[in-house]
Symmetry: C2
Subunit: 190 residues, 2 copies
DNA sequence: CTTTTAACTGAATAATTATTCATTTAATTT
DNA sequence: AAATTAAATGAATAATTATTCAGTTAAAAG
């Protein structure tokens, strides 16, 4: 028997992300995805039951892989600010390096394809971040505000940094990154 | 002759915004829009040439009306911080009160319906804000950073405040608003 | 090297959705 | 109050897009 070319799944994912970035979730068809991935439309259906399954699987892959990079190199033993900085930087860099993915996740959040459960799974992935913020409050290093706002503040500004970096085609130097981190830090610090 | 019911256009707009919030731009059909607006599908085509025209017209209306509220009560003669606070509050409140609209604009930004020119028009609407930021830098009240980042910081965090307010069904009290403003202000201040 | 089996193809079909149009309704004019 | 005209309707049609499937190809097993 002929085995599946498992790499093909990645090609399909890549194609979908590229097309969604360019045309939105509303602007893609299975034919476009197949063509962009360099395969026949029928082949798509060997790997995915239907369009909804493709979108859901990709959403799952995107959230898992991005969440895992968010906390790479993060050591909870380190001082609070070091940990916060590590995660902040990880998220910014992931959002910029995988901008397609960021837009895809954003669009999926308001789409009929993704169910509440998957959305909640995504929210859960920020768990370690929530704990870090609680710790920062306990250590009196950051403002004593409801965590939801501290997180919104951090994530919101990061999202917008990524968008502008890509839209205006800016090269993110260490200097720019540090200056942006400073904005966030000065905001949350006690 | 029978005159057009000009209010119908607003019904169509409202219906579209509600449906896009619930299902995304990819999840709406002209039949759904008509039904939600309480009219026949054919009637939609009396008011809009086609789907693309509807989306474009709505995008235009949304950007214009939201931009105008952003700068209401804003008096450039007032001290910098007052002006900044006014605009900050205007944007947050608009985003929350017209959450549909915010999601629609966000989704349109990555869709084949909206052309580059319309996107640029939207960017231009923040012009008064850019000027205010320049002024803040001149007066040495805020950090001397490229305006693109200061604006990203402000807008990004506002967007996320609005999303969480709606998703978690939070009542935005003056206290919460002020605490969130403080986060932003502490971030940008010199 | 033949057989087997599953991947792969892309045109054909099914399903969905945009758009039209013959007909009906209701405001205005005369 | 009859005539006129454009709005409104919604089923019918056109266009698009998802999905299938009969036929083809290529890897693995024997």
């Amino acid at each position: 028997m002929k085995p599946r070319d498992e790499n093909k799944i990645n090609e399909i994912y890549k194609a979908t992300l590229n097309l969604v970035k360019a045309n939105g979730l509303s602007g893609i068809t299975m034919q476009m995805v197949a063509k962009e991935a360099g395969i026949a439309t029928g082949t798509l259906y060997i790997y995915f039951k239907n369009k909804e399954a493709l979108i859901n699987a990709l959403f799952d892959v995107c959230t898992r892989s991005s969440a895992s990079t968010f906390f790479s190199n993060y050591d909870p033993e380190q001082p609070f600010k070091i940990g916060f900085h590590t995660i902040w930087l990880n998220i910014v860099q992931r959002r910029v390096a995988h901008f397609n993915e960021s837009i895809f996740i954003e669009q999926c959040f308001h789409s009929p394809f993704i169910d509440e459960e998957s959305k909640n799974r995504l929210r859960k992935m920020f768990e370690p971040m929530l704990q870090l913020i609680e710790r920062g409050k306990t250590e009196r290093l950051i403002k004593n505000m409801d965590t939801v706002w501290l997180l919104a503040f951090m994530i919101g500004s990061i999202n917008e940094i990524a968008k502008r970096t890509i839209y205006y085609n800016i090269k993110l130097t260490d200097e720019i990154l540090e200056a942006n981190f400073q904005l966030c830090w000065d905001g949350i610090k006690a």
